[in-house]
Symmetry: C2
C-alpha cells in the first residue's frame, strides 16, 4: 500500500498543463491566465472628478476681502464628454463624478461647499478654499501603462474579468479547459432510466463524476459503460483517447475480473495501486495512447472520494493552476467517529462555522457501500492512519469541499 500523498505526487508528476489559447472575455471566468497581463494604458485614462461639483483654479477658491470667491460658470462637463473650452481665472465649470477635468482647472470643489441659484445659475460662490488636486483622480491612479496587473497562473474570476474589460482585453490568453472522458465499467451497471433487474445496479458513477468534473472546471464527456468484453472495452478506449484525460470507474480492484486491467495494460502503461485510505483503496493511473488515465474504484462512495483526492488536482494542474489541493481547516467533530480504521479514513461530514470555530457532524454510517453518507456533506474529516480514535468533541483536520451559505 502507498500513502495518499505518494499516490498524488506520482500522478501529478505525470501531468502537465494544457496549451494556451485565446478565449472571449465572457468565457474566461474560472480559467487560468497563460501570460501576465500588462496594462497598455493608464487607468483612469484621464484625470477626472471624484465628486459632483465645480472645476476651478484652486487659487480662485480663496476668499476675496473676507467674502466667498464668486466665479462665473462657463459650462459643464458630464461623464463621457470633454469640455469644449478651458477654465480660466475667475471662471468655473460644473463637473460630474467621473467626468474629465477641463483644461486649465487644477481642482474640484464639491457642490455642497458652494452656493448658486440652481442649475441655470451663471454664478457660483465658493464657500471654502481648496488645494490643488482636490477631488481629482489623476490619470493612472488605478493602473499605470506598463504595469503588470495580473500574473500568469492566476485564476480569472468575475472581478478580474472587470479589470480585463477596463483594460480593453476582448479576448484573454488562458490555459485550455480540459475535456475529460468518463467511462464506467461492469456488466452489473445499467443506465439510470432502466428498471432494476436482478443483480444489476444503476450507473451512478458516470453522472456523479460528470458533475464533479464540471465543478472542478473541466468539460465532461460521458461515454457510457463498457461491458466486460474485450471488444466493448477496446471500443470505449478508442473513443476515450480523443480527450485530454480519461477517468474510469470500476475494474481496478484486486478482486475484479482482470479484463479491464488487461485491456488497460494492453493499450498503454497503467499502474495499479492499493492506497492506504478508506474508502477507496484501489486506484489505477497511467497513460493510454498518450492520454492520462485515472482509474477509480467502482464503488460510488470510493469513486466520489478518490475523485476529490486525485481527479480534481489532476484537472486543476491541467488547467494551469498551481494550488491544487482543497483547503484544510481544523474542526471540532461534535459526534466523533465511532468506527475505527487502520487505513486513513476520510469521513464524510457537514462542517459549519459557529462561535469562532468550525464544527463538524458526520453524515451517519460511514460504510463504503452507504451512498447516503455522501448526502449534504461539504467536508471530509481526516482520521489519521492506525486506528486513531476521534471522540465526540475532539479536533481533527477536515478537507473542505464547499462552504455553506448562512
Amino acid at each position: 500500500m502507498i500513502s495518499v500523498e505518494e499516490a498524488l505526487a506520482r500522478i501529478l508528476a505525470e501531468i502537465t498543463p494544457l496549451n494556451a489559447m485565446q478565449v472571449p472575455l465572457s468565457e474566461a471566468c474560472g480559467l487560468v491566465l497563460a501570460q501576465d497581463i500588462v496594462a497598455q494604458e493608464d487607468i483612469p485614462p484621464f484625470a477626472n472628478s471624484a465628486m459632483d461639483g465645480f472645476a476651478l483654479l484652486s487659487h480662485d477658491s480663496q476668499p476675496q476681502h473676507g467674502q466667498p470667491s464668486r466665479l462665473r460658470i462657463t459650462g459643464g462637463v458630464a461623464a463621457g464628454y470633454v469640455a469644449d473650452h478651458a477654465v480660466e481665472e475667475g471662471t468655473t465649470m460644473r463637473i460630474m463624478t467621473g467626468a474629465p477635468l477641463p483644461p486649465g482647472a487644477d481642482s474640484v470643489i464639491q457642490v455642497e461647499l458652494t452656493r448658486s441659484e440652481g442649475p441655470d445659475s451663471e454664478w457660483v460662490e465658493i464657500l471654502e478654499a481648496v488645494p490643488p488636486g482636490n477631488n481629482i483622480r489623476p490619470a493612472g491612479e488605478d493602473m499605470r501603462r506598463g504595469q503588470t496587473v495580473l500574473r500568469q497562473g492566476s485564476e480569472v474570476g468575475p472581478w478580474e474579468i472587470g479589470v480585463l474589460a477596463t483594460l480593453g482585453w476582448p479576448t484573454i490568453p488562458v490555459i485550455q479547459q480540459p475535456h475529460v472522458a468518463i467511462l464506467g465499467t461492469g456488466d452489473e451497471v445499467i443506465d439510470v432510466d432502466e428498471p432494476l433487474r436482478p443483480g444489476k445496479i444503476r450507473n451512478s458513477n458516470s453522472y456523479l463524476l460528470e458533475a464533479a468534473v464540471r465543478q472542478a472546471g473541466a468539460v465532461p464527456h460521458r461515454l457510457g459503460v463498457a461491458h466486460d468484453t474485450v471488444e466493448s472495452l477496446r471500443e470505449k478506449f478508442t473513443e476515450a483517447v480523443r480527450y485530454n484525460l480519461i477517468i474510469t470507474s470500476g475494474g481496478v480492484s484486486v478482486g475484479d475480473f482482470d479484463l479491464v486491467k488487461n485491456i488497460m495494460a494492453e493499450q498503454g502503461q497503467i499502474n495499479f495501486w492499493r492506497i492506504n485510505m478508506r474508502p477507496g483503496k484501489p486506484v489505477a493511473f497511467g497513460h493510454i495512447g498518450g492520454v492520462p488515465l485515472l482509474g477509480l474504484p467502482g464503488n460510488p462512495v470510493s469513486a466520489a472520494v478518490t475523485f476529490e483526492l486525485f481527479g480534481r488536482p489532476v484537472i486543476r494542474k491541467m488547467m494551469g493552476h498551481t494550488r491544487l489541493v482543497r483547503p484544510q481547516v481544523d474542526v471540532i467533530v461534535e459526534d466523533g467517529v465511532s468506527d475505527r480504521a487502520m487505513r486513513r479514513h476520510y469521513v464524510r461530514a457537514r462542517v459549519e462555522w459557529r462561535d469562532g470555530h468550525f464544527v463538524a457532524h458526520t453524515t451517519g454510517n460511514q460504510g463504503s457501500n452507504i451512498m447516503t453518507s455522501l448526502l449534504n456533506a461539504n467536508a471530509l474529516v481526516i482520521v489519521p492512519e492506525g486506528g486513531v480514535e476521534v471522540r465526540p468533541g475532539d479536533t481533527a483536520k477536515a478537507m473542505m469541499l464547499d462552504w455553506p451559505e448562512e
Copy 2:
C-alpha cells in the same frame, strides 16, 4: 441612509422562488430540489456480498471433528449476474464483491480464510467458522423504499447526483434557473473592444456582472449599454423585461442625470436608496413590468461589492435556496485598515487559513475608484459603521467569497 441589512430585507421580501421544472439529471447540479426525493426501491435492491469469497450456509463453516469443513464448489456468481441454482448443505459458490447472494446461502467467507486448489478447484476448505449474515450487505441497508432521501430546498451537488442516479431519477424536479438581464447605462461607457476616446471608459460592469451572475447560479444575458436618451433606455427596458431579473449599473446615484431614474420610475415602481456602506452607497430596487430590478452603482468597485451583498442573495432566493448570504468568519487583519470610514466599510482582502485561524491581507488602496483593489480578493473584511479603527493584528468579521486551494 438605510443599513445593508434593512436594504437586503426589503429587497428579499419582494422576491419569490421561480417555478419548478424537470431537468435531465446531468443538468441538475447546482440547482435546488423542488420536492422531497423518496426512494422507490430498496438500495441495494438485493442482499449482496461485501467481499470476494464463498457463499455458504453458516453452519457449514463449523469444523468437523477438529478438521476444517470441506465444501463442494457448485459454481460462481459475479457482480451483475444471479446464481442459476441454490447453495445447499455441503456446497458453496464463489462470489464476487457486490454480487447477489445466491438462494440458500446465509453467509459469505472471504477468500483469505479459505484454501482451495485455484480457480478451477471443485472443493474448498473453510478455515474459520462464520456467523449468519457475515460479509452480507442486506437489501435496503443504504436506502429503504419509502424513505425520504433528500429534502425539498436542498442543493443538488455531484454527490447528490450520484444518489439520484442510483435511485433511477433520469429527470429531477428543481426550481428553474433564473435568467438575468444585465444592462449598463451611461454615455461615457464604450465596449471592451473599442479604443479609448477622450472622456470614455470601457464597459467593465456588464462583463463583471455576467461572470458573477453565472457564478451565483443563474444565466446572464448581457444587453449592452443604454445611452442617456429616453429612446435608448425604453428600448433596453422593453428587452430586459423578458427575463426573470434585471440588473442595471449606473444611473442611480444622487449626482447622476435623472434620466435613468425617470425612465425607471416611468416604467415601474422603483425605490432609490442611500445605503450606509462603502463602497457602493446608491442602490435602486423595485419592479418594471412585474420583473424585479436591482440598480447597482456605476462605479465598478461599488457594482462588484453591491452585487455580492444584494444581487447574489436575490438570485439564490429565486433559485429556491433558503440560505442566501455568504458565510462570515473571524479573521486576523494582518495589515489593518488604514483609512477609516463612517459608513460600514467592505474592505477587499485575501484570506487564508494559517496555524489554526484565518488571516487577512487587504488588497491595497481601498478607494472606490481603485479597481485593482478587486484583484485576487476572496473576502470582504467588514469594518463596522462609525469610523472604527482596525489596527494590524486586530480581529474582524469577513464575508468569504471564495476559499483558496492550498
